[in-house]
Structures are given as structure tokens and as C-alpha cells.
């Protein structure tokens, strides 16, 4: 959005346009399926027939450039953490990150003795929604995604930020 981002003073037209843009972005969050470990199985289960991720508009994309949301599902090792950083930087704005499961949130069951486990993916990339669980049930993942949609809908992309 380059030139238009945060440029206009707040008024009814800009606010409505903001709402429209937020609606578009929250209705079709294409997710970057980044399944690393057991939480990936739950993510696949959520995308399957019984709990359907497509009905809230999420379509799986495998290239980071075409995705909006990166769902980090599974244990992140330090070796992988460098690659996650790279992939996050390859995603196109506006991008969001969901840390799924306790390993991505804070290191999970390996928090104390895991010498090669990254204690929470928010040490390398900024996270928007944390979903606790080991692994979180599909319903929990869907709740996390709906929270993300709520979060997207509170943004003001066009409005000039004060100060």
C-alpha cells in the first residue's frame, strides 16, 4: 500500500475505507502452512473435512510470498529459527504470525532442558496470536484464527497516526 499507508486525516470516508480494507484482509487470510511437528498434524486435521479451515476463508499456500498468515505449528529448533526469520522476511506486507501450540509459544515441554529448542518463536519474529495447547484441538486453532481476524479488524491502515 506504499504511498497510501497512514496518510489521510481521520474522517468518515477514510474510516469507511479502512473498514472495507480490513474486511477484505480478514475475510481471506491465506495461510503459509509451516508445519514442523505434531501441531502440524492438528493443523492438517483442522484443514480437513470435519473442522474446515476453508470456511473462514483460509486457503493454504506453500510459498511465503503469497501468504498472509504464517502459522508456526510445532517445535522450533535453533537451526530452524534462522530459516524462520528468513521466511518471515520473505512474506509480503501485511503479514501476521500465529504461534500454535506450546512449543512455538514458549518452548513447550522442552523449556527446561532442551538445549537446542527455541523457547518461543517470538524470540525471532513478532507474533500476533498465541494458541496454547499441546497440541491445541482444531477448535482451539479456529478460535485463535478468529481472534486474529478480530485483531485485523481493529487496524487503521489509511489513517494518519497521531504523533
Amino acid at each position: 500500500m506504499g504511498l497510501l499507508e497512514n496518510r489521510f486525516k481521520d474522517n468518515v470516508v477514510v474510516a469507511s475505507l479502512d473498514k472495507f480494507i480490513n474486511w477484505a484482509r480478514s475475510t481471506s487470510p491465506w495461510f503459509f502452512q509451516f508445519g514442523l511437528a505434531c501441531c502440524a498434524i492438528e493443523m492438517m486435521a483442522t484443514a480437513a473435512s470435519r473442522h474446515d479451515l476453508m470456511r473462514i476463508g483460509m486457503i493454504p499456500r506453500s510459498s511465503p510470498r503469497q501468504a498472509d498468515v504464517m502459522i508456526v505449528a510445532g517445535t522450533v529448533t535453533l537451526k530452524m529459527a534462522l530459516r524462520i526469520k528468513k521466511l518471515y522476511e520473505q512474506m509480503a506486507d501485511p503479514k501476521y504470525v500465529i504461534a500454535m501450540g506450546s512449543c512455538a509459544t514458549s518452548g513447550g515441554p522442552y523449556w527446561q532442558h532442551g538445549y537446542h529448542v527455541l523457547k518461543g518463536v517470538d524470540l525471532v519474529i513478532p507474533v500476533d496470536v498465541y494458541i496454547p495447547g499441546c497440541p491445541p484441538r482444531p477448535e482451539a486453532l479456529i478460535e485463535g484464527l478468529l481472534k486474529l481476524q478480530e485483531k485485523i479488524q481493529t487496524e487503521r491502515p489509511l489513517t494518519k497516526k497521531i504523533a
Binding site: 477484505a24 473462514i56 510459498s63
Partner: protein, 358 residues
């Protein structure tokens, strides 16, 4: 004859013919582009919904927080399109900038200009070329250049692999497709699209419409060869190794984001429609009604043409979720070892049939 009609319509048509021609072309192009855009939105919605139903899922349902994508998720493709337009435009630093930017447009052009010869109706063709079908086959190959540009310009070895594989596949599958069209041309004796459809008026044995698919057992097979080669030309499953997710991330289109990616998407659906339309025209009777004599007017003609083409598009979507993906060597061996001999046999068969029986 739409361009000619438009030119007669335009008030300054007699004085400045060049300008009138340009204006007429612009109007037609805009109409076709709008048609492609609307059709693509519908096709994307259809694809997501139909594929979901086939997988016992429900697809985009307009569920979620706040005002969502309407009942049954009807506004979902609109939201997708708006979101893609507003995405950041990323061009990799080491990418070949000119090629990278040109690629989506070249692919789109290949699909777009084929629309110029498609007969929607008895009276609605952008330009009724007397080499109609030959023109479409020729121009449909332009998209290959676009894909190679995309693969090379991304500065990414996986994109390059994807681009090369895709180019090899499309170029190989054009041969059985063209050979199947030759059987049609042999029967009708004309290259013009409207001419081919005119040939298919009337009935065989009273009840069967005189479509080329029913003419001849050889042309029956030719239809299937043409259709399957068409599916391969669109890089659709089961022939979608170039953009297979598990193989090459997104193939030639890995590095494209936002609107540029949307263009590739658009071109793929436009190409699907072109292939279906050509198959309808050549084999299924175009805008002729299946019950000859009834439902025959211009409005009905449009209905039949769109109905048959969209049905074939639906069959392409159906294929995607029915068949597993073919490996690249299986793909190529089917083309050269199975389709090509069959297509050649078809040509001889049709010729001999016409000589002896027809």
C-alpha cells in the same frame, strides 16, 4: 462480426476509419476483459466450493468475525481480489526486473487474445476470422514464453525448474491437440469457427445432434484427446507438476506476490475457458442446441455455448480432485507415446471414414 458492426455504428466511422477501428477494438477488449474478470471470480468461487463439496467439506461459508463473506461465502472471491490488490509488491533484488515484470502480462496476453475468435453466438464474435481455429492454436502458445520468463526472471532455481518443466509440458501437449483439431477441419472443410459450428447444424439419425463428436468413432476419440491435452496445457491437475505444491513450492510463480500473482491466476482460468470453448466449438456443436429446431434463437445460442463451455470447465475442476498427480516422466511419455500415435491414427481414420461412408 462485432468489430465491423461497431465500426459502422460509430459516428465518425466514415471519416477517420483508423480511429474508429481503434475505438471499436478498445470497446471489445474492455468487454472481453470484464467478461474474463467476472468469469474468473465465478470460477474461483466455483473451484473452492466445488472442490470442497467433493472433499466432503463445506468451503468458504461467510463465517467468521464481523460482517463476513455473505451467505454461502459469495463475497469470498471479491475479498480475495481486494486483498491481493492491496498486498505489498515484492521484487527480489537479484531478479531480472524487466523479465520479472513482463512475465505475468505475456502469459495473460496469450490467453486474452484467444478470446478474439471465440463465437459466443450466431452474431457475437469479436472477429470472425476465416482462420479462426488456427489463430487460436497459434496464439495460445504465447503463454509458454511468459512462464519461461517468470521462471528465469525470479532468480530462483526452483522457479527455473518449474518454468522449464511447464514449458516442456505445454509445448509437447500442443501436438496431440492440434492433430485432433485437424480431424475436425478435415470433416468441416473450413478453419473458420462460425463455419465449423454451421457444419454441425441438424441431426444424424433424427435424434442425435449432428455434432462432430457423434459423427465418427475416430472423432469421438479425438475429442477426448483434445480435451485431455487441453487440461495439460493449462497446467491443471493431474498435469500440474510445474506448480505442484509438494514438489516445487509454487513452481514458476514462487516469487510473485499480490497483484502479479493474481494475474497468473487470472490467466490460468482464462486459458481454461478458451480450451473449453474451443472443445465446445469444434466437437460439441458450439452454440447449436442439442435438440435441433427448438431453443434456437440468438439468446439461446449464447446460453448453449456458455453452458457447454462452463460444463467443460466444471469437468476440469472435477479432474483436479479426482486424479492423483502424474510424474513428469509419466506425463511426457503419455503425450509422446500414447496421445500422438492415437491422434495420427485418428486423422487416417477420419479420412478413410469420410471417403468410404461419409
Amino acid at each position: 462480426m462485432t468489430i465491423d458492426q461497431l465500426m459502422n455504428w460509430i459516428p465518425f466511422g466514415a471519416d477517420w476509419p483508423a480511429l474508429a477501428f481503434f475505438a471499436a477494438v478498445l470497446v471489445c477488449a474492455l468487454t472481453v476483459f470484464l467478461f474474463i474478470a467476472v468469469y474468473a471470480l465465478m470460477a474461483i468461487y466455483g473451484e473452492v466450493k466445488i472442490s470442497s463439496f467433493m472433499q466432503d467439506k463445506v468451503g468458504p461459508m461467510g463465517q467468521g468475525v464481523g460482517f463476513h463473506a455473505g451467505k454461502w461465502g459469495l463475497l469470498q472471491p471479491v475479498a480475495d481480489a481486494v486483498k491481493l490488490i492491496l498486498k505489498e509488491d515484492i521484487i527480489p533484488t537479484l531478479a531480472d526486473k524487466k523479465l520479472f515484470i513482463m512475465a505475468p502480462f505475456v502469459v495473460f496476453i496469450g490467453a486474452f487474445i484467444s478470446f478474439a475468435a471465440l463465437p459466443f453466438n450466431q452474431h457475437t464474435v469479436v472477429s470472425d476470422l476465416n482462420i479462426g481455429i488456427f489463430y487460436i492454436l497459434a496464439v495460445g502458445s504465447l503463454s509458454v514464453i511468459g512462464i519461461i520468463l517468470a521462471g528465469w526472471g525470479s532468480n530462483n532455481k526452483w522457479s527455473l525448474y518449474g518454468g522449464m518443466r511447464s514449458a516442456a509440458q505445454i509445448v509437447s501437449y500442443e501436438i496431440p491437440a492440434a492433430l485432433s483439431i485437424i480431424t475436425v477441419i478435415m470433416l468441416t472443410g473450413t478453419l473458420s469457427m462460425q463455419g465449423i459450428i454451421e457444419f454441425q447444424k441438424g441431426t444424424i439419425w433424427v435424434i442425435l445432434p449432428n455434432w462432430i463428436i457423434f459423427n465418427n468413432p475416430f472423432s469421438f476419440i479425438a475429442f477426448f484427446i483434445f480435451f485431455i491435452s487441453g487440461v495439460a496445457e493449462c497446467n491443471r491437475t493431474p498435469f500440474d507438476i510445474p506448480e505442484a505444491e509438494s514438489e516445487l513450492v509454487a513452481g514458476a510463480f514462487t516469487e510473485y506476490s499480490g497483484m502479479r500473482y493474481a494475474f497468473f491466476f487470472l490467466s490460468e482460468y482464462a486459458e481454461m475457458f478458451v480450451i473449453s470453448a474451443v472443445a465446445t466449438t469444434a466437437f460439441l456443436g458450439g452454440w447449436n442446441s442439442p435438440i435441433s429446431g427448438f431453443f434456437d434463437g440468438p439468446g439461446w445460442g449464447l446460453f448453449w455455448f456458455m453452458g457447454k463451455s462452463l460444463f467443460l470447465v466444471f469437468v476440469m475442476l472435477w479432474f483436479r480432485w479426482t486424479f492423483p498427480r502424474l510424474r513428469v516422466d509419466q506425463l511426457m511419455s503419455i503425450c509422446w507415446k500414447v496421445f500422438l500415435p492415437f491422434a495420427l491414427v485418428n486423422i487416417f481414420g477420419v479420412a478413410i471414414w469420410s471417403l468410404i461412408i461419409g
